[in-house]
């Protein structure tokens, strides 16, 4: 057999199936040689010929993932579209009684807006749920700088407000149902947290008076069995230090059932 075959066309010797080489063989298409396949290519893996970079197509090309095809990403995918996404940062949950629940250092310069989902039930009836923001050193802001307004509607149509300027905490609710496994007690809902950490001067929310603003919506199941819808907003009247975390605490006694998740809102 000669060391080089020169032919304009290869075809099966018989029938329609042709085979190149045997298991273990290697065929190399050298640098500078183009290989054009105008129909379907079937292979189990594509890898870079050298180095670690692999490029698909050229500017202007379109690659389509057809309907019904699953495209799985187990690595890091960047630059896909311009949609925002929620990035899970932290979760705490449990059912045993604890004095408070803290999520330290969940806020940073990475995101401007955060989503906090929460469910709480105190260990007994009648106690409230409070929130205090935390500093970088994990201590709380407990001065008189919580300013908030909450509107509540109960299941009888009655309305009420829970407002404060200069409170030492955000008082989220009145006395809630707790310590009774027969009911879904306490409070549950979500809040968006805006600009808790350092943001650049001149950006929206970078005021000189406030650091961290929040708006929330949640259900309170009161200690008298009322379902109460609460819509609340608030701001922390200080801008000297960053707000790095948050702490939920009962007005007295213990938190029993809880589930809190913090998400960062990735913006493009």
């Amino acid at each position: 057999m000669s060391s080089e075959i020169k032919a304009d066309k290869w075809s099966p010797a018989s029938g329609t199936a042709g085979t190149i080489g045997d298991s273990g063989d290697t065929f190399t298409v050298p640098t500078g040689v183009g290989l054009t396949v105008t129909d379907e290519v079937k292979t189990n893996k594509i890898s870079p010929a050298s180095g670690t970079a692999f490029t698909m197509g050229d500017s202007g090309d379109t690659f389509t993932v057809p309907s019904g095809v699953t495209f799985t990403n187990n690595g890091t995918a960047t630059g896909f579209g311009d949609t925002s996404e929620y990035v899970k940062i932290a979760n705490v949950n449990g059912t045993n009684s604890v004095g408070d629940v803290s999520i330290n250092d969940c806020f940073s310069t990475t995101y401007r807006t955060y989503l906090v989902t929460f469910q709480f039930e105190n260990d007994r009836n009648g106690n409230q749920v409070w929130l205090r923001w935390q500093k970088d050193d994990d201590t709380t802001y407990s001065g008189s700088n919580y300013r908030y307004a909450c509107h509540q509607t109960n299941d009888s149509g009655g309305t009420s407000t829970r407002v404060a300027t200069g409170d030492s905490k955000w008082l989220m609710c009145g006395g809630t149902a707790g310590g009774n496994t027969a009911v879904f007690g306490g409070i549950f809902g979500f809040m968006y947290v805006h600009n808790p950490y350092t943001i650049a001067t001149g950006e929206a929310g970078a005021g000189s008076i406030y650091r961290v603003g929040w708006n929330a919506q949640y259900n309170e199941y009161s200690d008298s069995g009322e379902v109460v819808n609460s819509v609340a907003t608030g701001m922390l009247e200080q801008n000297s230090t960053a707000v790095a975390g948050l702490r939920f605490l009962p007005s007295a006694n213990y938190v029993a059932k809880r589930n809190v998740t913090v998400w960062g809102l990735k913006e493009y």
Binding site: N91, V92, V98, G99, V101, N125, G126, G174
Partner: protein, 109 residues
């Protein structure tokens, strides 16, 4: 010592005993919650709610003498009752969802 549940990027979720300072703050919270001043504050919140629930009686313009007396008795709570009565005023009875304040002063005429 009371337990705290804490999440941090370094440790994930842990539970640990409160430090001496944290325990002191926790204990102070219990003391404040059970203080006469805090109890009276909660009583006034209940009173406000009851008054707002029955404001329509006033707007309607023909309140009965019983309704008028009841609303006045709510306003007089801080002078009628002393600190030794606060627990009784806050006491609840019954099971959720039919749980309610036990003291007769809260019952609408």
């Amino acid at each position: 010592m009371t337990k705290r549940q804490i999440w941090s990027p370094e440790t994930g979720t842990i539970e640990r005993d409160m430090t001496v300072e944290e325990q002191a703050e926790f204990d102070a919270r219990q003391t404040a919650w059970n203080s006469d001043a805090e109890k009276l504050k909660r009583i006034k919140e209940i009173r406000l709610k009851k008054l707002k629930e029955t404001d329509w009686w006033v707007y309607r313009g023909n309140m009965t003498s019983e309704q008028s007396s009841w609303r006045q008795s709510l306003r007089d709570i801080p002078t009628t009752f002393s600190a030794s009565d606060y627990d009784a005023l806050l006491e609840m009875e019954g099971d959720i969802p039919n749980r309610k304040l036990k003291h007769s002063i809260w019952s609408k005429p």
